[in-house]
């Protein structure tokens, strides 16, 4: 591989914007994804990223800001989950499952109202990383700044919450408020990333790099840093691969995030196996 192979994908303006947009998405999703993985909220996160679809679809159909539409859909989804939780004794995952399907279906129904917007469905679900504009990047950067600020402010409350909500409360860490703010962070990461990565594929960045980091490190801080590095690598190398292979940019990045997880998992397994054998040989 020549130097050109690595540099060529980023020579054009739209490709540079794709890289910047993708990297901002990587930062946001890493900061939030660590807590999603630590608190076992992956199913919620998955439902959440699909749940914003009707808001974005309605925004495109009625010609208002898709960011506003996604935010409204996220609020509606959380309120409905809370409603089901308060009114029934069903477990939380049931409410999540109901809203997951319901909101996703509503999004498709809204889009299907107009044939001319059929192409928008692909854009919403799978993103269009090569179509990212400077105004998209500006909006993304503002949202990213808020998400990063919240992540820093909430580090201790979220760490305590990852141990136990009642314990967090006795330590003055306000677990209910912390959880609510984590939902805001998830919403921010999803809304801020859907343009470049798409609502379906943003989940890969939310869970893939943090999960990969979790199996390699000893502390949450290390997990955040490594997750960030893996995310950034995923975006950068995913764009290079998509350029040379002629594949969809967003999907290539999402797939790469998952592939990296399994490669690391298998390598770690092999390393452990090798160490175990070496230990046995020394013992013998």
């Amino acid at each position: 591989m020549t130097v050109d192979w690595w540099l060529e994908p980023f020579l054009l303006g739209f490709q540079q914007r794709a890289l910047i947009g993708g990297l901002i998405a990587a930062v946001m999703t890493s900061m939030v994804g660590v807590w999603i993985v630590l608190r076992g909220m992956s199913f919620f996160g998955d439902a959440f990223v699909h749940g914003v679809t009707p808001g974005i679809a309605a925004a495109i159909l009625l010609n208002f800001s898709p960011y506003l539409g996604a935010a409204l859909a996220a609020i509606v989804m959380v309120l409905l989950m809370e409603f089901v939780h308060r009114q029934t004794q069903l477990k939380e995952d049931t409410a999540i499952g109901l809203l997951f399907v319901g909101m996703m279906a509503l999004g498709v129904v809204i889009i299907s109202l107009s044939r001319s917007y059929a192409g928008s469905l692909t854009g919403i679900l799978f993103g269009d990383v090569l179509g990212v504009s400077w105004s998209d990047i500006q909006a993304q950067a503002i949202i990213a700044a808020l998400v990063i600020l919240l992540s820093l402010v909430l580090y201790r409350p979220l760490l305590a919450l990852a141990i136990s909500a009642p314990k967090a409360q006795t330590l003055g860490m306000a677990p209910k408020l912390t959880h609510a703010l984590l939902l805001v962070m998830i919403a921010g990461a999803v809304i801020g990333s859907f343009r470049s990565v798409g609502t379906m594929l943003v989940f890969a960045l939310l869970v893939g790099p943090p999960a990969t980091a979790a199996i390699l490190v000893r502390t949450v801080r290390q997990m955040m840093v490594l997750s960030l590095l893996i995310s950034a690598f995923t975006v950068w190398f995913g764009l290079i691969l998509s350029f040379h292979l002629g594949t969809a940019g967003s999907a290539t990045m999402a797939l790469l995030a998952i592939v990296i997880f399994f490669v690391v998992l298998v390598v770690r397994m092999l390393v452990r196996l090798l160490r175990h054998r070496q230990t046995q040989e020394v013992t013998v």
Binding site: L38, G40, L152, V153, L154, Y155, R156, P157, L159, A160, A162, I163, S164, P166, K167, Q169, T170, L171, G172, M173, A214, I215, V217, R218, T219, V220, Q222, M223
Partner: protein
């Protein structure tokens, strides 16, 4: 500063989870300092009472007041804290969380805070475990970590929910020493237990069965009549007389450590 008149005082306190009342019309007062054992069958409201004292469960009715100051001087070591295996949080970080109550959301750790954490680990004999994850520890080691977290927090009142249940001999002995050291240093310690020996060794006992059946010095509270009222007739073993059967959970109240010594 003079010693407060009481550590905990309740008047007609009722505690409930949604429509299920766990503690009904409890009125009692515990003196400041010393060790108080809360004893009663499973489901008698012992843990619920600790939750209320720690401020994690508001009273349904009645009142609960703490002597000597505000609730942020209460440290609560819970019975069960289930941390998912593989969670990348080290023993040192878990114990350091005890300082969060003082430091808040973002004030940085000071040298004194780090020294407090080191000292707590040394007292509990877990210094060598500082870099381990909770999932890499035995049950007894984990319990010592949570007790260390509890004593690292600034406190006048230390609540421990069944701290010795199911522990190995070494862990039980270390935690038992902590309980009595904390008391000797002027802290009020509340311990829930199923162990009659442990309750008899306390300065005060609260006997519960969904309400307060009796409270006061052990010899006045742990009478055969009171225990029969709490656990039902025939619950007290004739042989050892050290443990009581819980009719609702007979398997959960067996002696975890028959050789445990104080």
């Amino acid at each position: 500063m003079s010693t407060p008149e009481y550590s905990i005082r309740t008047e007609h306190l009722t505690l409930a989870y949604e429509d299920k009342v766990a503690v009904r019309d409890a009125t009692f007062q515990l003196p400041w300092g010393g060790v108080t054992a809360i004893i009663g069958p499973n489901g008698s409201g012992k843990s619920t009472l600790l939750h209320a004292i720690a401020g994690t469960l508001p009273p349904r009715s009645g009142s609960l007041s703490l002597g000597g100051g505000t609730r942020n001087r209460v440290s609560y070591v819970m019975q069960t804290v289930n941390v998912a295996p593989g969670t990348p949080i080290t023993v040192r970080e878990v114990i350091g969380m005890g300082r969060y109550a003082e430091l808040g959301w973002w004030r940085p750790f000071r040298t004194t805070d780090r020294k407090r954490v080191d000292a707590a680990m040394e007292r509990l004999g877990i210094t060598d475990l500082a870099g381990r994850h909770l999932s890499e520890l035995s049950g007894g080691q984990r319990q010592r970590v949570y007790v260390a977290q509890g004593i690292v927090q600034d406190h006048d009142l230390l609540l421990l929910d069944e701290p010795l249940t199911g522990l190995d001999l070494v862990s039980a002995r270390v935690i038992d020493e902590i309980i009595h050291t904390e008391s000797a240093e002027g802290c009020s310690v509340l311990v829930t237990t199923h162990d009659l020996d442990e309750a008899r060794a306390a300065d005060n006992v609260v006997l519960m069965a969904g309400r307060i059946l009796a409270y006061g010095p052990p010899e006045q509270v742990l009478t055969r009549a009171n225990l029969a009222a709490a656990y039902g007739l025939g619950s007290l073993h004739e042989s050892g007389k050290d443990f009581v059967d819980d009719p609702a959970h007979p398997d959960e109240v067996s002696d975890p450590n028959p050789d445990r010594s104080r």
